[in-house]
């Protein structure tokens, strides 16, 4: 026999396999990497690497005027960009002390709840895809098209919307926009009901997701979880109720809460939240229809320093021309201040910590991104589970890479 080949020291003693659930992988939605150590098929540890899509938003924001920062916020959680846009506008309005009229608030609520529905439907259908059921995803994406068409009527873009301005919207909602909204309100509930019937009491789906990736309420709070993941663990913290913004206190809705924090609870919480969002949209739409006459034409607050004047005034009046010039060139200064303001994003509390020093752009703007904060818990959630559980946990946490990295 030939001489024995000796393996390098330590090679045979290694009991665990290291696999790389790499940055480009069909199951991870977004670019982030997990290095998972497996013992057989059970996970021993998982180490996350993020930062593949870091675009230096916080540094860029120090050199940009407020209306330019709206485009940066679009790209945080790109599945529900109007939520991020309005979160930023609400932060600026709180800094400047502007109160938006009720109609603006109600219109904003309609759009924000549509964005929440679009984010949750992606997350839930992707949980379905990751457990093998592909058709739910296809049927629900059709309704995302309807939501995109509504966004397009209002602001012109579909995905990264850059919607609205400090003080309100750029233009009034057209009748077509309302028509598309009515079509969505009519066609969406039956589709969601079909999706529910397919998944919620499905034996295979329940076996795949019950008991997978659970987290207790204390650990979740310690980890800084917010949003549907925290509510699935049993804590009913929702920024819309705790610190109401944009007139959420005028609406009647419930917050669904789970108990064990596993994937099935997260799925159900998001599902119920979609139904609740539909309730809010119906109530808001009715309230908007009640505005008559001149009030029905209000679509922004009066903020001459930050809201571009009407084009016909710009061409005829001197003041409007000067304001237009100043705003576009970014020469209107923000007051000195320091504010932390948050909105309920689709994934949790999206916070904006803004420090201004009287200049045209912020001195420091920090985004408190919910995904970034709760992704830390991933290794604890998947320890002891199987590899397929790791995939389902990752997709049920609704990790959007744009929000992880910013």
């Amino acid at each position: 026999m030939s001489e024995h080949v000796t393996l390098p020291e330590g090679n045979v003693e290694k009991h665990t396999t290291t696999i790389n659930l790499g940055p480009t992988h069909p199951a991870t939605h977004g670019v982030f990497q997990n290095i998972i150590e497996l013992d057989g098929e059970t996970i021993v540890s998982a180490e996350q690497t993020v930062g593949y899509i870091h675009r230096a938003f916080e540094k860029i924001a120090e050199h940009r005027v407020p209306y330019q920062i709206t485009t940066l916020t679009d790209r945080l959680n790109y599945c529900s960009s109007p939520l991020n846009n309005f979160g930023w506008h609400i932060t600026c309005e709180r800094l400047l002390g502007i109160k938006t009229p009720k109609r603006v608030d109600y219109l904003r609520i309609i759009i924000m709840e549509l964005a929440r529905i679009s984010d949750h439907l992606i997350c839930n259908s992707i949980v379905g895809v990751d457990s093998g059921a592909f058709s739910g995803f296809l049927y629900l994406m059709q309704y995302r098209e309807l939501i995109y068409e509504i966004y397009e009527e209002i602001c012109g873009s579909r995905l990264t919307t850059n919607m609205g301005r400090i003080g309100g919207f750029e233009r009034n909602f057209t009748n077509e926009a309302f028509g598309k909204l009515e079509r969505f309100m009519k066609e969406w509930p039956p589709a969601l009901k079909e999706f529910d019937e397919m998944f919620v009491r499905n034996r295979i789906f329940m076996d795949r997701t019950i008991g997978v990736g659970p987290i207790s309420a204390e650990r979740a709070l310690n980890y800084g979880f917010t949003g549907p993941n925290l509510r699935a663990a049993g804590v009913d913290y929702d920024v819309r109720i705790h610190t109401p913004y944009s007139s959420y206190e005028d609406f009647d809705f419930t917050i669904p809460v789970g108990s064990t924090g596993d994937c099935y609870d997260r799925f159900l919480v998001r599902d119920q939240e979609m139904w609740q969002s539909m309730e809010i949209i119906k109530q808001a739409y009715q309230k908007v229809q009640e505005f008559k006459g001149a009030e029905a034409e209000v679509y922004h607050a009066d903020v001459p320093d930050f809201y571009l004047p009407d084009k016909k005034d710009v061409y005829t009046k001197m003041e409007a021309l000067i304001y237009h010039f100043k705003i576009i060139m970014g020469e209107t200064h923000l007051p000195v201040g320091e504010i932390y303001s948050s909105v309920e994003g689709a994934n949790g509390e999206l916070g904006f910590y803004l420090i201004t020093d009287g200049g045209r752009s912020p001195y420091r703007l920090h985004f408190r991104r919910p995904c970034f904060v709760y992704y830390q818990a991933y290794s604890e959630l998947t320890k002891g589970g199987l590899l397929s559980d790791a995939i389902i946990t990752m997709s049920s946490l609704n990790l959007i890479a744009g929000e992880l990295d910013a």
């Binding site: 650990r219 705790h242 932390y340 970034f372």
Partner: protein, 156 residues
């Protein structure tokens, strides 16, 4: 606070959120007190970040903690200042697991060294980077690029 007395300074309330400062060596004690005290109960860490003030001698980097008392819905902001030459701050990750990655992010961008952190590596930038990008002295764009012609745009 009765317990800490004069060691807490800089009380102000911008836009309704109480803000205070203390010496950086006290940060763990203050955080623990805010966590444990039954009347205060700030058990949720909302945010941890840093701000660079290049003009304050000896206190250039400010680490800012945002805490939240979920039961009574009170938020509070706690700042500590540290010297940029020796930016050592005790880590809060033993108390709040949420602080783990937030401190890594603060280290990555500002260079604040969190003493006692289990895994203080860069998180969003490449590991080989030698500078700390969000400090004020680093420019927005890489000045060594030769392929962009900004003459027409008038950028700074």
């Amino acid at each position: 606070m009765e317990k800490f007395g004069e060691e807490l300074t800089g009380w102000e309330e911008p836009y309704g959120m109480l803000t205070f400062t203390s010496d950086k060596n006290l940060n763990l004690k203050v955080l623990q007190f805010l966590f444990d005290d039954p009347e205060l109960g700030f058990q949720f860490m909302t945010d941890l970040t840093a701000v660079h003030y290049p003009n304050q001698e000896g206190k250039e980097l400010a680490v800012v903690y945002h805490l939240h008392n979920l039961k009574e819905n009170v938020r509070i902001r706690y700042k500590i200042f540290t010297n940029i030459q020796k930016p050592d701050v005790y880590t809060a990750s033993a108390l709040f697991s949420a602080a783990n990655w937030m401190e890594r992010e603060t280290f990555d961008f500002f260079g604040v060294n969190f003493v006692g952190h289990p895994n203080l590596k860069r998180i969003l930038n490449v590991e080989e980077m030698e500078y700390f990008p969000l400090r004020k002295e680093y420019p927005l764009e890489d000045q060594k690029r030769t392929d962009k012609d900004d003459e027409m745009f008038g950028r700074d």
